[in-house]
Amino acid sequence: MKINKILLIGNPNVGKSAIFSRLTGAKIIISNYPGTTVEFTHGRMKIGEERPVVIDVPGTYTLNPTSKAEEVATRMLREGDLVINVVNATNLERNLYLTLELLERKIPVVIALNIWDETRHQGIYIDVKKLEEALEVPVIPTCGLTGEGIKKLITRLPEAKAPDVRISSDSDKWERIGKIVESTQKLTHHHHTFLERLEEWSIKPVSGIIIAVAVVYCAFWAIRLIGEGLIAFVFEPLFENAWLPLMLKLSAVLGPETFLHNVIIGNIIDGSIDFKMSFGVLTTGFFVPMAMVLPYIASFYFILGILEDFGYLPRLAVLSDNFMHHIGLHGFAVVPMMLGLGCNVPGALSLRLLEERREKFIAATLMAISVPCMAQIAMIVGLVGERGGQYLGIVFGTLFVLFIVKGLIMNKVLPGASPEILVEMPPYRTPHITAVFKKLWMRVFGFLKEAVPYVLLGVLFVNILYALNIIDALSGLFAPVLTGLWGLPREAISALIIGFLRKDVAVGMLGPLNLTTKQLVIGSTILAIYFPCIATFTVMVRELGIKDMIKSAVIMMFVALMVGAVLNLIL
């Protein structure tokens, strides 16, 4: 049999992605909560001479699709030559339901009995040989995180079989599962561990909320501490001591006030280069992503990675469910919002976790307006924070109030109701430190690869627009709104234009405009609200459809107009 396409199928959060990355060597994000994988991820593995495609299918409980994600998983099944059914060894009974459904489809199956390492701690003993006999397909115990059993899984792939199973009713399936489990699995009593007790505390209403507040507070405190530390002790000294002399030399070579000097070095401020103000491609363009944004991106994703792998996010989702219902969502929408704080792109991608169109629309609009990405936050903290912490409070406070008010309004105005939460809580797991750093590196590398070129391009673009006097022309056109309504200088139009490309650069552009603190606060807030960056926009169009996206964009621009005007009046 020639194997061209291998599908990894299993319940949510059983470690499909971990096995996928072991099989293919591909780097993908793995976390401890159901729904980490929302897109199909393709990769190639090696079996002898062949190099079949492996597809990491989003988790599903059943092949009788009950949600959109499951529907897609089912459709994929027709294209596969072989299924690796990833089964959670600590929850055999429930997982076998999907296995039996798979076997009915007459597709060759191999079972990876994953999370094998945890069975012992939990007092679960599974007779693998007997299980193999009962299911008539190969069963291989694995541990995706450590890679245990993966080699054996690969060598046994050719043994995959499609046993002759008749299509049976649900109750027959459960009966058969009951018999299988009874004859292959032994449960012994196990003592509650500290982590299990913590699981209970963090899901109870009172202790849960106390824990949630503490976790969120500590998380932001740690993000700030690490981010500021990296800036003060690593990146700023690096730029001041190594990059600045180099740039000063280059500046001398290029000669003052030439076109190239203006583009590459930018303006000389008080006789030297100011990385925040000069606005050349190699000065500010390089300084913004590397020394202002990267430290916060790294620290944010480090902390998020720990929370993800520990399994905390779904608990936070449940605790906030009540509140989220008032704004037309259910608790699990917390996950896209948290991811959106890092970067709106993965946030928008994970909108797929939400099922209904209404819910997606609300979540997307709320995120685009009120959830600034870490790159933007870092810049706002860097620029506005200099003027005083209370001004940061105004910017983020405004966004937070908007989040709630808009949510309440959309929930009232849009027809329909918010769907209910139904989610499995993953057990708490001590994060593997290597896994956390691997994930952190993937995300930081993604930022360097995808964001930094855009930032450089953005700064280049803006300098060219200035050189061609296009900014001047546009600033005249938009002056009524900018100056009349928002009280900003008309040159701020350049920031709004670049905001379509990169929000961090856009905020950075407010720096050289010599704004008053009030103007800086208004400008930063508007830049967060008025429109998503191009990368987020593209994903949002794909997830929402063009019609809903237009509606959402109209709301964003309207809100930006209003908020700018109101802030201008009251500050």
């Binding site: 009950t66 429930r94 899901i203 209403p205 849960g208 989702a317 449940v318 469910d321 939460i421 139904l422």
Partner: protein, 80 residues
């Protein structure tokens, strides 16, 4: 005594009796491992008709209030 899931007290255990919410709902809940005959323990219940958290087969689930209303349980009594 038969109650629905929202009426169970925290810490109480029981047996799932029936899912009353149409075929799609039933199948969805079933496939997650919550099905009639299973022992179920209520772990927590959130304020203001918030989600109900239960444990079945050592796995913890959170279920929205409305859905929980549709799950009836035969209660055995306290099990702390």
């Amino acid at each position: 005594m038969i109650v629905d899931l929202t009426q169970m007290r925290t810490g109480e255990s029981g047996i799932i009796k029936e899912l009353r919410g149409g075929c799609g709902f039933e199948r969805r809940i079933n496939s997650m491992g919550l099905r009639p005959g299973k022992q179920i323990k209520k772990v927590s219940s959130h304020f203001w008709r918030g989600p109900q958290t239960v444990e079945v087969d050592r796995v913890c689930f959170s279920i929205g209030f409305g859905m929980a209303k549709k799950i009836s349980i035969e209660v055995k009594g306290e099990n702390k």
